[in-house]
């Protein structure tokens, strides 16, 4: 039993990095995602096409490949062209990859959230003389965020698990801590059970919190938005495109 506890405690030492990377990535991801979502909903192809390409590339490639490209591929490319470049810390490309990755998924969540807001809201705002931008900012986006808050929470939970791939490029987070301990002790089973427990300690309370918020919001606005259950499941479906929702 002691070995399992050791494995768990060792793995837990990686938790600050895992949480830090996930938090920054989800925060940047939301900002990026909002921009991308607005671009994708734009009528101008010059905005729409790059945003669509970005989302397709990110969603169409594994995050581990993206991580290798950023951590090792880009420095190699620059060095081969005579630019002396090396990441000071591998955590920098790690955060970039996770943010870019999260941005693409969050963009799809936000896009479906924006589309779930009744069209009449935009018409009402515009009929009062508001510009498109002002209507978006004051009327549509606040409502969309309430709709997608649970999906964003799930995105955060998913991202915590996804950051485990960063161990492949040498970022010392939960998974890497376990791997290193395994390499030193050959206690493979306790090591990875410890890693699994360390992730669960983070993800289970978080997904409970998300469920709680979701239930609260369902009560809050039950009568003003009869279409909400459908819209919400669309958003959830969008989020679950990403593998394994908790």
């Amino acid at each position: 039993m002691g070995l399992y506890l050791d494995g768990f405690l060792i793995a837990l030492k990686g938790a600050p990095v895992t949480i830090g990377v996930s938090l920054i990535a989800v925060a940047l991801g939301v900002c990026l995602g909002l921009g991308i979502a607005l671009m994708r909903l734009s009528k101008h192809w010059i905005l729409k096409i790059p945003a669509t390409i970005y989302v397709e590339i990110v969603r169409g490639t594994p995050i581990v490949v993206q991580a290798f490209i950023f951590a090792y591929g880009i420095p190699q490319l620059l060095q081969a062209n005579g630019v002396p470049f090396k990441w000071d810390q591998l955590i920098i490309p790690a955060v970039i990859v996770c943010s870019l990755n999260s941005g693409a998924y969050v963009a799809e969540v936000i896009r479906s959230g924006l589309q779930a807001v009744d069209k009449g809201q935009m018409e009402a705002a515009r009929s009062l003389g508001m510009s498109y931008t002002m209507s978006m900012r004051l009327i549509i986006i606040p409502q969309a965020f309430r709709i997608i808050l649970p999906a964003l929470g799930n995105e955060f939970v998913t991202l915590i698990k996804e950051t485990s791939v960063l161990s492949f490029v040498g970022v010392v987070e939960i998974m890497r801590k376990g791997t290193l301990w395994n390499a030193a002790t050959f206690e493979t089973f306790p090591a990875y059970i410890g890693v699994a427990c360390a992730y669960m300690v983070l993800t289970i309370p978080l997904s409970r919190l998300v469920n709680y918020v979701e239930r609260r919001m369902a009560v809050d606005k039950k009568d003003d938005a009869p279409k909400l259950p459908i819209d919400k499941s669309e958003v959830a479906a969008e989020a679950s495109l990403r593998k394994g929702m908790v």
Binding site: D118, G120, Q121, E123, A124, A125, R126, S127, L128, G129, M130, S131, M134, L138, I139, P142, Q143, R146, K221, K222, D223, D224, A225
Partner: protein, 238 residues
């Protein structure tokens, strides 16, 4: 004065408005009636460019309405929708003050004073802090009217304002609209309430199949319709 010339609107291949010419004078209350799909709502929505006309022009007080300057135009033109479209994340008071504050640049306090005054007029002063979800349909629509009036528009457009209401709530909304009509507001009202149109309208337009088929005073149009289509429609609804 609103001057509509040669107004056409199509959605894809579907020509909904087939050429509307109409002049609506200041202070006039015009009710638009007709069967579903006749283009009544589209006509109304073209006036403030919620639908962009396919052809034709609209002038308001001699100034052409264009999509580029539409925000200016809309400041003087309130609209009330069938489904209320109140902002669910804002209180009643915020619903009414948001546009005056953000669009007209009014001070919060002044906007609130105006909003409370309007709420009193529509009989909902005690609901200022309530959220739309706690209101009945009739109350929502009265708030929506107050919200549009808060911009102090010269023209009010009503798109079937009572069609989504339970029958017992229709009266309270129509009462507010009657008071507004008597105050001299220019109003264009798409409605299925024939009794209301007869009582309040200065003029009634009957639309069918993308045209204004017939128009006249309520007495003429309801009492002695000339066109066969008008007669057929009225025989069904009256």
């Amino acid at each position: 004065m609103i001057e509509v010339k040669g107004l056409k609107k199509s959605f894809g291949d579907n020509l909904v408005l087939k050429g509307i010419d109409e002049i609506i004078n200041d202070g006039e209350v015009v009710c638009v009636i007709g069967p579903s799909g006749s283009g009544k709502s589209t006509f109304l929505r073209c006036i403030n460019m919620l639908e962009e006309p396919t052809a034709g022009t609209i002038h308001i007080d001699g100034v052409q309405v264009t999509i580029e300057h539409i925000n200016e135009t809309r400041k003087n033109m309130g609209m009330v929708f069938q489904n209320f479209n109140l902002f669910p994340h804002m209180s009643v008071l915020e619903n009414i003050t948001v546009a005056p504050i953000k669009v007209l640049g009014m001070k919060c306090h002044d906007a609130e004073v105006r909003a409370k005054d309007l709420l009193k007029k529509v009989g909902l002063e005690e609901k200022a802090e309530a959220f739309p979800s706690s209101l009945s349909g009739g109350q929502k629509q009265r708030v929506a009217i107050a919200r549009a009036l808060a911009m102090e528009p010269k023209i009010m457009l009503f798109d079937e304002p009572t069609s989504a209401l339970d029958p017992e709530m229709v009266g309270e909304v129509l009462d507010v609209m009657k008071a507004l009509a008597h105050s001299g507001m220019t109003m264009i009202i798409v409605t299925h309430e024939m009794g209301f149109a007869r009582e309040v309208a200065d003029r009634v337009l009957f639309m069918d199949d993308g045209y204004i088929v017939e128009q006249g005073s309520p007495e003429e149009l309801f009492g002695n319709p000339k066109e066969v289509r008008t007669q057929a429609f009225l025989s069904k609804v009256l």
